[in-house]
């Protein structure tokens, strides 16, 4: 089994807010991230797929295909977007790094037909990242 990781970057804004909480609870739990005008990050996505090496091509996955799927399913959807307002799942779910990693996993799981997903790692900043390995 070989693991291959492809990295890409996207920039987006978000804010954290749960309409079931009072304004005070929202401010207390989410702090500065509750600013309704949003704030932004340069996110880095590391997508790890796994599989056996194809003996003819020497590849575990054709990187051109992987890049095209990442562009279509993730970057076109999230890059330079306000996640709460422009990405359908974040109309209801809070676009935390955890939920962004899960959302990317789900988007890729249903479309990635060229390799098996292993891990989605999303960096919100160089000092904060989340790993998601699917349902465990």
């Amino acid at each position: 089994m070989i693991y291959l990781t492809r990295k890409c970057e996207f920039s987006a804004s978000h804010y954290y807010h749960n309409p079931e909480f009072t304004p005070e609870e929202n401010r207390r739990i989410f702090g500065k991230c509750n600013n309704p005008n949003g704030h932004g990050h340069n996110y880095t996505l590391e997508l790890t797929v796994k599989g056996e090496v194809n003996p003819k091509s020497g590849f575990v996955v054709d990187l051109k295909d992987l890049k095209e799927i990442l562009n279509r399913e993730v970057l076109d959807v999230m890059d330079h977007r306000f996640l709460n307002k422009e990405v359908p799942e974040f109309a209801k779910e809070i676009p935390t790094t955890e939920n962004i990693a899960i959302s990317i996993w789900r988007r890729l799981q249903s479309t990635l037909n060229v390799a098996e997903l292993h891990r989605v790692r999303v960096y919100e900043t160089p000092d904060l990242f989340v790993d998601y390995y699917g349902e465990e």
């Binding site: 693991y3 989410f30 899960i102 000092d127 904060l128 790993d131 998601y132």
Partner: protein
């Protein structure tokens, strides 16, 4: 939905690698430059990974503010800008980064009672790093 959250912290400290049970020659042979009696320092980087179900109300595995304050209080204040050989934890333990990583894991395991601590990773320099998962295999 279980997710793994990692936060990176930094602290600086000095240490000297020396074992009283070794002869001077053995200490020099084992620890090389790190045996310099005056000690030397590093800028350490510490990654702390916790895991759990994502809380549907907050979208979070754990409160980052609580994680930051636990690490700050129990690790950074304890080891940051200290001579590790003079810290109680290393009174009878050589302050290698292996031992420091294990010690930090044990401290955080006690401090972070309400969340699963998965691993700590300690970068001693940009070229040496040490990971400890409480004796478990690392989750790749």
């Amino acid at each position: 939905m279980k997710a793994y959250l990692t936060k990176r912290y930094r602290f600086s400290a000095s240490h000297r690698l020396h074992n009283e049970e070794f002869s001077n020659e053995q200490n020099r042979a084992t620890y090389g430059k790190c045996n310099n009696p005056h000690g030397h320092g590093h800028n350490y980087a510490l990654e702390v990974t916790v895991s759990g179900e994502v809380d549907p109300r907050t979208g979070m595995v754990y409160d980052l503010g609580a994680l930051d304050s636990a690490v700050e209080r129990s690790v950074i204040e304890r080891f940051g800008h200290e001579n590790l050989n003079c810290v109680r934890d290393f009174a009878e333990l050589v302050p290698t980064s292996e031992n420091l990583a294990k010690k930090i894991f044990e401290i955080l395991k006690r401090e972070l009672a309400s969340v699963a601590l998965d691993r700590v990773k300690l970068d001693e320099t940009s070229q040496n790093s040490f990971e400890y998962a409480g004796g478990s295999e690392l989750r790749y």
